[in-house]
């Protein structure tokens, strides 16, 4: 029974992750194509996706490399884009922090926007699950997101410029995340946090290296925590 339901958690994770194929597919393909266009060998582009495994940071690094920016600037800028991962790590620690170290290492490696968002939504909707179920769900979500990321990168690098840029594919990522935000807005405090973060994100969009995102994220978190205290709404 317990074994059964751990597997069912895994498969529920797979189902939650599958729609992200429509995000990862075009996004990874595009990275592969741009890598080849920038003069990278196929194995170099693939190494980017396997070692770094972070779309936005990879695009940032590739862009700056083609502009011949200094190495340190390339690294610092791409890591700044990835700074939100530290917030994801902190946010998921109350749920997965009790795992053995090597399993936490696995979670950390596969912790990307999509796996984080889908897992956190699950943990919030079903808070009473055991640690094993939560870990199984995470691995389930990761399965249709991360390995396909490598495959489509390879495919894009290989096909190179023979793929025409198709209209609308760029918008798969915003659509996927927008769909997940609504169900997360469970209490007035959640809605206030989201509203404040949107206002700050648009207001600070001019800040270089994507740091406006961090300002907005921190501002939204503070707004949510304050609203929770004042409205007395328990999550």
């Amino acid at each position: 029974m317990a074994g059964d339901s751990v597997m069912s958690s895994y498969w529920r994770g797979v189902r939650a992750g599958v729609p992200f194929l429509f995000v990862v597919g075009p996004f990874g393909l595009l990275f592969g194509v741009l890598g080849t266009e920038a003069g990278l060998a196929i194995h170099e582009t693939l190494a980017f996706s396997v070692v770094v495994i972070a779309g936005a940071a990879q695009f940032t690094a590739l862009q700056l490399l083609t502009e011949n920016a200094p190495t340190l600037v390339v690294i610092a800028s791409a890591l700044a884009v990835n700074m939100r991962m530290a917030m994801y790590s902190a946010s998921i620690t109350p749920h997965l922090g009790k795992l053995p170290l090597w399993k936490r290492g696995i979670v950390a490696y596969f912790l990307v926007d999509q796996t984080y968002a889908a897992s956190l939504l699950e943990y919030e909707e079903r808070p009473k699950q055991s640690l094993q179920h939560k870990f199984a769900f995470f691995l389930g979500v990761m399965t249709p997101i991360c390995p396909p990321w490598y495959v489509v990168t390879l495919l894009g690098a290989w096909l190179g410029t023979s793929i025409p840029p198709s209209l609308g594919l760029d918008f798969a990522l915003p659509i996927a995340f927008l769909a997940m935000i609504g169900p997360l807005l469970r209490t007035p405090a959640h809605r206030i946090a989201a509203l404040v973060s949107v206002i700050l994100a648009l207001g600070f969009a001019w800040v270089p290296y994507n740091l406006g995102l961090l300002i907005a994220g921190l501002g939204g978190m503070i707004a949510g925590a304050q609203a929770e205290l004042r409205l007395g709404s328990t999550p």
Binding site: P19, T71, L79, R84, A117, G217
Partner: protein, 107 residues
């Protein structure tokens, strides 16, 4: 494109740095209990970061060089509205994608 050695330095540094950012709290905090004030803030990480990530992309899409685009904006509003009202992520994605494809074909 710059030299291959530089490329590999960038790839390795980004790999180590990105893993470090992701491992920071999971690995170092682990099973120690976090203070209540911090947990209270972390409860709002997802609803603070995800909208902040999406809002500029929806309003100023890179594909239109940052010009607001009625098709993408309508699809974004429809996706969010369906997700908020029905709490159904897949339905929201499906309707959002349909609106995007439908309007692109019409306009």
């Amino acid at each position: 494109m710059t030299g291959t050695a530089e490329l590999w330095i960038v790839i390795m540094a980004l790999g180590i740095g990105s893993f470090g950012l992701r491992f920071a709290f999971l690995g170092l905090v682990g099973d120690r209990d976090l203070p209540e004030w911090l947990l209270r803030h972390l409860r709002y990480t997802a609803v603070a970061i995800l909208p902040a990530l999406v809002a500029p992309l929806a309003l100023w899409p890179a594909a239109t060089n940052g010009e607001p685009d009625p098709t993408r904006l309508t699809a974004a509003v429809a996706t969010f509205a369906v997700g908020y009202l029905t709490k159904n992520v897949f339905l929201a994605m499906g309707i959002g994608a349909s609106v995007l494809i439908g309007l692109s074909a019409l306009l």
